[in-house]
């Protein structure tokens, strides 16, 4: 490993270093504010180091990691996501009576794991990154252990994630046995020739493992329970950083190894995409718990992303990347509102908690409305451009059936988004007007920032599009 390799890895090193620093910091002095400051400083430094690493990209650092512009872009996205979650968690944790500081440690480790996933070009780093992410998530989900629900969610997530990791490992082993390599790049030409049972079943098991993390149908069963049980900022983290990193890996792995063009694999993904879009939106109709609704909606959104994934060419990668950015903003914003509304003993998860929110907390209601409209893909929000991008990608590959299913299922989705919106704007019962406490500074800043970004990318997406294109072309 040379010095240049070290510089290329700088973002990862800074992230890992920050986790160690935070751990030591907690041991020396237990202060919520200090730990947050340290975390944010570390994340900012890691974000800044992207520009130091950028001139060296693309660079293969050991067979395990590749630091190219694609990876750096996703580093930036994951770090920004982690930053927002840390700020949201600060307000959330301030309300509960528990040891608060360790969550930031776990958050940093999980973000590092996600970053490793994004940069991995080898089964070993893939699995390492995945486990770093998952293991910290077990603890994060169950972080509020005095309550029953988070604990249950944590255990559920632990068992299912461990099982899916076993599937993934077995799949990797089969592929390795079939091809004799664990590097993505070297699988490419072999997959075309070696079309035997072992390879296909290996890939199928790998899809199972990835599908579990992405929570696509039929691997979605954990999602509503974990989303509901986990503390709201952690849910935001699972929905964005964890899924985003996994999708970036999916894209890299299947394009690099050439498996994305294999028609059997495509068929599997088509079925998964259709099932996710329809099941996610239909099941969300039956819910009255906002966190569960958002859980099912995220299943549908992963289905939309798969439509873009299935479209071929650079348009597909662009569409996925843009949609993920929009999805990060939207989902962080939505769970940010849930987290800001939570009190010391319960979360604002029932739809009745949002009744007449517009009268009580107009700013929060406004932000939440924007986020929901973005999830529904209504203009002036980034979600609209994202959905447009996906439809363009699908149409460019002439996948009309998938596009039409996307359209129909997103119309079904309108029902439950509008239900929440309608509840927020309903007139209050006369006796129940209590103007809640003001929104605290940290989550306020995050939510307004997200709202501004959402509208900006919704009206003038060109700068972001140009960035994505230069990143992907390089």
């Amino acid at each position: 490993m040379t010095g240049a390799d070290g510089i290329a890895l700088l973002p990862l090193i800074v992230l890992a270093g920050t986790s160690v620093l935070v751990m030591v910091g907690i041991a020396v002095r237990r202060s919520h504010r200090f730990t947050l400051g340290l975390t944010l400083a570390g994340l900012t430094a890691a974000f800044g180091s992207l520009w130091i690493a950028a001139p060296l990209a693309p660079r293969q650092v050991t067979p395990l990691l590749v630091i190219d512009h694609y990876a750096l872009f996703y580093f930036g996205l994951l770090i920004a996501g982690g930053f927002a979650v840390a700020l949201l968690a600060y307000d959330y944790l301030a309300k509960v009576d528990i040891n608060r500081e360790e969550l930031y440690l776990l958050l940093l480790i999980a973000t590092t794991g996600g970053a490793i996933l994004v940069a991995s070009s080898h089964f070993a780093s893939f699995f390492l990154g995945l486990e770093m992410l998952s293991v910290s998530l077990y603890a994060m989900v169950a972080y509020l252990h005095p309550r029953r629900q988070p604990l249950e969610a944590g255990i559920k997530y632990l068992i299912l994630a461990a099982a899916s990791a076993a599937f993934l490992l077995f799949g990797m082993a089969l592929v390795y046995a079939g091809l004799g390599t664990m590097e993505f790049g070297r699988m490419a030409h072999m997959l075309e020739t070696g079309n035997n049972v072992m390879l296909i079943s290996g890939l199928a098991l790998i899809i199972t493992g990835i599908g579990f993390k992405l929570a696509v149908v039929p691997f979605h069963l954990w999602t509503p329970d974990v989303y509901e049980g986990a503390p709201a900022p952690v849910t935001a983290f699972i929905a964005t950083v964890s899924k985003g990193a996994m999708f970036a890996l999916l894209l890299r792995y299947f394009y690099r190894s050439g498996a994305a063009t294999n028609h059997r694999i495509r068929l599997v993904f088509i079925i998964i995409a259709i099932a996710s879009m329809l099941a996610g939106n239909l099941l969300a109709l039956l819910q009255s718990n906002v966190k569960r609704i958002l859980a099912y909606s995220s299943i549908a959104h992963m289905g939309y992303l798969l439509v873009a994934f299935l479209a071929s060419g650079e348009l597909a990668v662009e569409a996925v990347t843009f949609y993920l950015v929009a999805y990060f903003i939207t989902t962080l914003g939505a769970f940010g509102v849930v987290s800001a509304l939570s009190t010391h003993d319960r979360e604002a998860e029932d739809i009745d908690d949002y009744h007449a929110l517009f009268c009580r907390r107009p700013a929060l209601a406004g932000v939440f409305t924007l986020m929901l409209l973005s999830l529904a893909g209504i203009p002036v929000t980034a979600g609209f451009i994202g959905k447009f991008y996906i439809v363009v990608a699908g149409a460019s590959s002439a996948m009309w059936a998938l596009v039409i299913i996307l359209v129909v299922s997103s119309v079904i989705g309108l029902f439950y988004y509008l239900r929440i919106v309608a509840a927020m704007y309903a007139s209050p019962e006369r006796d129940a007007i209590e103007t809640g406490s003001r929104i605290s500074a940290a989550s306020g800043a995050v939510l307004y920032m997200l709202a501004v970004l959402l509208v900006w990318f919704g009206i003038y997406p060109e700068p972001l599009l140009r960035l994505i294109r230069t990143v992907l072309r390089a």
Binding site: L373, A395, L418, E462
Partner: protein, 499 residues
Amino acid sequence: MILLCLIAILFIAGILAWLAARWSAAAARWIALAATAADFIIDLIVWLRHYGEISLLPHNRWIEELDWNWIPRFGIHFHLAMDGLSLLLLMLTFFLGIVSVLVSWNEIKERIGFFHLNLLWVLAGITGVFLALDLFLFYFAWELMLVPMYFLIALWGHERRQYASVKFFIFTQLSGLLMLIAILALYFTHHAATRVYTFEYEQLLGTPLSSSSAWWMMLGFFVAFAVKLPVVPLHTWLPDAHTEAPTAGSVVLAGLLLKTGAYGMLRFVVPLFPDAARQFAPIAMVLAVIGILYGGLLAFGQSDFKRLVAYTSVSHLGFVLLGIFAWNQLTLQGALITMIAHGISTGALFVIAGLLQERMHTREMGRMSGLWSTAPRLSGAALFFALGSLGLPGLGDFVGEFLVLLGTYRVSLILTLFATIGVLIATFYALRLVQRAFHGPNFHDWKLADLNKREAFILMPMIVVLLWIGLYPLPLLNTFRPAMERLQQAANSMAALRR
């Protein structure tokens, strides 16, 4: 730049009205009124200044135009342009905009700032729809007018507002997405033929299409506009939305939102896909006649004042659809006049329904009767607009429907025959409305305030305009002619190109 101003004024005034309402409700109303009035005056000035030359404009020129790069990645432009058709529809938009602000003056008492924000934004979206020449921008504006309209119905509507607003939203959203798919199909077909990615209307006009793909794309556009128009099997959202909306919402819905559907048919469906549209014309015209008869019959059967007026819209817009798909000079002119006259007469009837509801807290005609004795001026105005709606010669609707029938006669005798029966039905429902609500003895001893100054000020200009269109429609036709010829030319050259 003027075109951008038209949209920006409404958009910014919406935000200002919202902020102003925190300290003064009246300020919000005045800001909204000023914005719509300013737009109306600007549009009027443009019309007057260009009136002399509009008919002399060469076919490739617009009255006003604005073209900026917006999202070069997809070849999307921020391209606004105005021709005679857009100009007239914008006059209608801002006129009814002023009406809807005034009519809400006393009716809306809750969340006043947010109401005016939504009202002005829906008008901004409609303005965008009438001006957009880039298909992406058009779709953007098309979707944009949906959300504020949803809020107008869902927040300030009547008893069943939730149901009505969601139904409205779902219908328009689904059909809009179908149109998006058609737009994209056209976009990629155009790219395959020319290697250029563009959403520009004028460039897409010349896209060579196979007849089957043209047919499917045409259907995608048609369905989106047919839901808005509405064409009969797709109309079921309309009575609910119109009935449950607040008065201003009903005026905007009937007067403007339905016209965006007709505008889309005129501007996009026929010129972009002339062959497919020609093949489809018999079906569309039959649907139109069914709409005329069905809407009229159902209107006859209603006992709810607003619901009755809502169904008359289905009937009147049937004439517009008939006129567009018969596609000759007379019918196109007729369709345009019907669009404008219907916007005013139906808008006025909704205003009257709103005034009655404010006073009596009911829309049931069974609970009315004999109102003439207690509110003669209000009843007189209602009679006037009901007569307009039934197509009395001398009023706007008559001119439009007459021209449509005259032109359709050349295309199909039978359809003309049935459409004429529709005019007859209109007489029944309009007179029944007047008779049940306003004539007869005052059974329930209603003591109603008659029109006050503000209300008279709303209705008087509407009466004048309706008379003007009925007696002297020439300025409208002159303004519309070059735009119409351009549309016809586009359709013809397209047809020639593809043959």
